[in-house]
């Protein structure tokens, strides 16, 4: 697995937690940020960063290489990972 994986999550979001557990089960390494725990300015910067790559800011946002997936969608995650 050579694709870089990044997860934008909320600490309170169950689907974000499910996504993390799913990636762990797949033994996929990823960077993650819990957006709700950021300071106000940082939060806004990250929301803008997400909005640049996807029209809807809906958590979790998973970036796998060039592919952006919003929401917990195991099948799409596996497909994007080539699994």
């Amino acid at each position: 697995m050579d694709k870089k994986v990044k997860l934008y999550a909320l600490s309170t979001c169950i689907y974000c937690q499910n996504t993390k557990a799913f990636l762990k089960d797949l033994q996929v390494e990823y960077d993650s940020v819990e957006v709700d725990l950021l300071e106000k300015d940082q939060k806004l910067a990250v929301v803008r960063e997400i909005h640049k790559i996807t029209p809807t800011v809906a958590f979790p946002v998973i970036v796998i290489g060039e592919k952006v997936i919003t929401g917990y969608r195991p099948d799409e995650i596996k497909k994007a990972l080539g699994l």
Binding site: T12, I14, Y15, V35, D36, H51, T56, V57, A58
Partner: protein, 112 residues
């Protein structure tokens, strides 16, 4: 208040309105726990699946139950988080599917 107490009080309020808790009690308990975290953090029970702005007026649309619950349950049988569902959804007569975000994009940036 613990999750059991919150479960009981919300159920009494919401079931007469036609909104039922998801039959997956574990999923519900995790969401109720997150709602209590948000209550502690923001002073109101912001939707745990959305980014709150920590501004009571700005976030009024996502106080749980959010204003999007009604159209989501009507269209998909469940709310965005899967906390509240219809009886048909709980009975498996409606397939579980991803509920797209209805909250307008400009709301995501906060009041500035």
């Amino acid at each position: 208040m613990n999750t059991d107490q919150l479960y009981d009080s919300l159920r009494k309020l919401q079931e007469p309105k036609g909104y039922y808790f998801n039959k997956d009690r574990q999923h519900v308990d995790r969401l109720l726990n997150s709602l209590m975290v948000n209550k502690e953090r923001y002073g109101y029970m912001a939707c745990p699946c959305r980014l709150a702005a920590n501004d009571r007026e700005w976030d009024r649309d996502i106080f749980c139950p959010c204003v999007y619950r009604e159209p989501d349950v009507k269209e998909f049988g469940r709310c965005y988080c899967g906390l509240y569902v219809s009886t048909d959804w709980n009975a498996g007569r409606i397939a579980d599917q991803y509920v797209p975000e209805r909250r307008p994009m400009e709301k995501m940036f906060g009041p500035g």
